[in-house]
């Protein structure tokens, strides 16, 4: 390992500038004896005298001139380490790949993409609809820059930034028994009554959490599972049972369908939506721009919503 320090080189560079030990020490924010001793220590290590103290003002020796020149080059190269980091962190341009879960994509993408693309035209944003697991895998492999999904993930290598909270809502067929209620309690959900998304959708896991063990133990008896919320809505529209919807999925329903919505009683089960990225992610400027853009695109009801009960992801 090298016997001298960047600090010593810095003292030498500063002394060459100031040609005065006291002023050089001031510039380095240390006392004069400190600077004196460190420079002397460096001279001993290198086996050369770098400054001629007998001259007034002091002057570098011939070898001192060469060492100082090279010390400046070293410092310039060191500064480039910091510059390369700032470079990557500071730019709001270049490619950025974002994954969004399917239960959020139809609601969120149309709302924020135009605004983001207009505000930051230098960013080449690539968006993919992916399930949570795929998003997490790709983040870990640094094949995806960020994801928008339901949290908490409880993964140490993934950093979560909360975007908003949205309550769950019941969507009931016209002849459903819960229609006589003002609101629905969680305990009133019946296992063979609720349509679910197919395996792999985090929304399914959350619905299972709501319906407690009844649903998780008897999945074999479920009549049908679907790949998207739209299909579930259609089933209910035909008079078949009920489904659970995130609020975001209800905001674009036609007026007739709005009558089939039934809110939960307090404490309202809620899901937390976050932007997630690998902890090694450096494109922080783009990240921040994206977060701001998404948050500003939310309807006021969601932007202001305060969560009462966040439903965990696992059963």
């Amino acid at each position: 390992m090298l016997p001298f320090t960047l600090t010593q080189l810095g003292y030498v560079i500063e002394l060459d500038k100031a040609r005065h030990f006291g002023r050089a020490a001031d510039a380095c924010h240390v006392t004069q004896p400190t600077l004196s001793m460190q420079i002397q220590k460096l001279e001993d290590l290198l086996g050369v005298i770098l400054f001629d103290r007998s001259k007034k003002p002091i002057e570098p020796t011939a070898i001192g001139v060469r060492v100082i020149e090279q010390a400046r080059i070293v410092f310039a190269e060191v500064k480039r380490i910091e510059a390369s980091i700032s470079d990557i962190k500071g730019q709001i341009s270049g490619p950025f790949s974002l994954g969004i879960i399917p239960t959020l994509a139809p609601f969120l993408i149309p709302r924020f993409v135009d605004h983001f693309a207009t505000s930051f035209p230098e960013v080449q944003l690539t968006i993919e609809e992916l399930q949570t697991e795929a998003i997490v895998d790709r983040l870990r492999q640094e094949r995806l820059d960020a994801g928008v999904l339901v949290t908490p993930l409880n993964s140490p290598s993934i950093h979560e930034i909360q975007l908003f909270y949205e309550p769950f809502v019941c969507y009931l067929s016209e002849n459903h028994v819960l229609n006589s209620r003002n609101s629905v309690k969680e305990s009133e959900l019946q296992k063979n009554d609720v349509w679910l998304l197919s395996q792999g959708h985090c929304f399914r896991d959350q619905a299972m959490s709501l319906c407690h063990s009844q649903l998780s133990n008897d999945t074999a008896q479920l009549k049908f599972e679907s790949g998207n919320l739209e299909t579930l809505i259609r089933l209910v529209d035909r008079g078949l049972g009920m489904t659970l919807l995130p609020l975001s999925a209800t905001l674009d329903l036609p007026p007739l369908s709005l009558k089939k919505l039934k809110h939960f009683a307090e404490p309202v089960p809620t899901r937390e939506v976050s932007l997630v990225h690998a902890r090694t992610q450096l494109k922080s400027r783009i990240l921040q721009a994206l977060i701001t853009s998404i948050r500003q695109s939310l309807p006021q009801s969601l932007a202001d919503y305060q969560p009462k009960r966040v439903v965990p992801m696992t059963n």
Copy 2:
């Protein structure tokens, strides 16, 4: 003043080499927790993660790769401070590590080492017998200061300084058909008649070049391969076939054996022996002293020899 230290950069460089905290720590002569904490401290200071610890073996992150690359440049520039001091002082001292290929070592080392050590007692010369490939690798990693081997290497990062050229000679058993000839033409070499050094010796590659495609395509039929030239000489002494020798290997043969030598007809196939070093090598004074010493130690026949046909290294 800069917030990080050359020591920390050194730890990072070593960890990138070893990809293992324990071995990197050993290489730096500190304990593993020291290295771990200093690297973590640097990561905190820079605000980036340099290594992905979840991978086995650990890997640098994308930004880690850039920081490490730049750290190496910093180190090289720091070393130039020391080099410029030595340069001015004109000193020929300090450690110097030299690699020599096995087909040259017995001939060359006894000839120049005494003279060199006497002339430059301040230089701590370390000599290793290594194959060409190992020498090149170590030069690249700056784990070796120079090598003496057969060229041309055609490697942009390695600088070659020609030392001498030496012709190949045939060494024939007493009943060999080529004994009736004044000299041997290359086209007269028979593939199943020539003993070779084992794989990895550059001498083997050159012998294959001489014997054209016949040898390279039918190596499975070769009767025996040896690790040194001495064994090949013994085989021929027992009346078995022939071998090829560099001239340097013949200079110390006993008088009876000299009768078994048969020179090639013109243009005599020749190998080029050079001193090679990484282009970033800074110990130019010692290098020059070594070159001079080796050249002065050569017998006149080799020192004056003019090459007619340099045999390439590859088939």
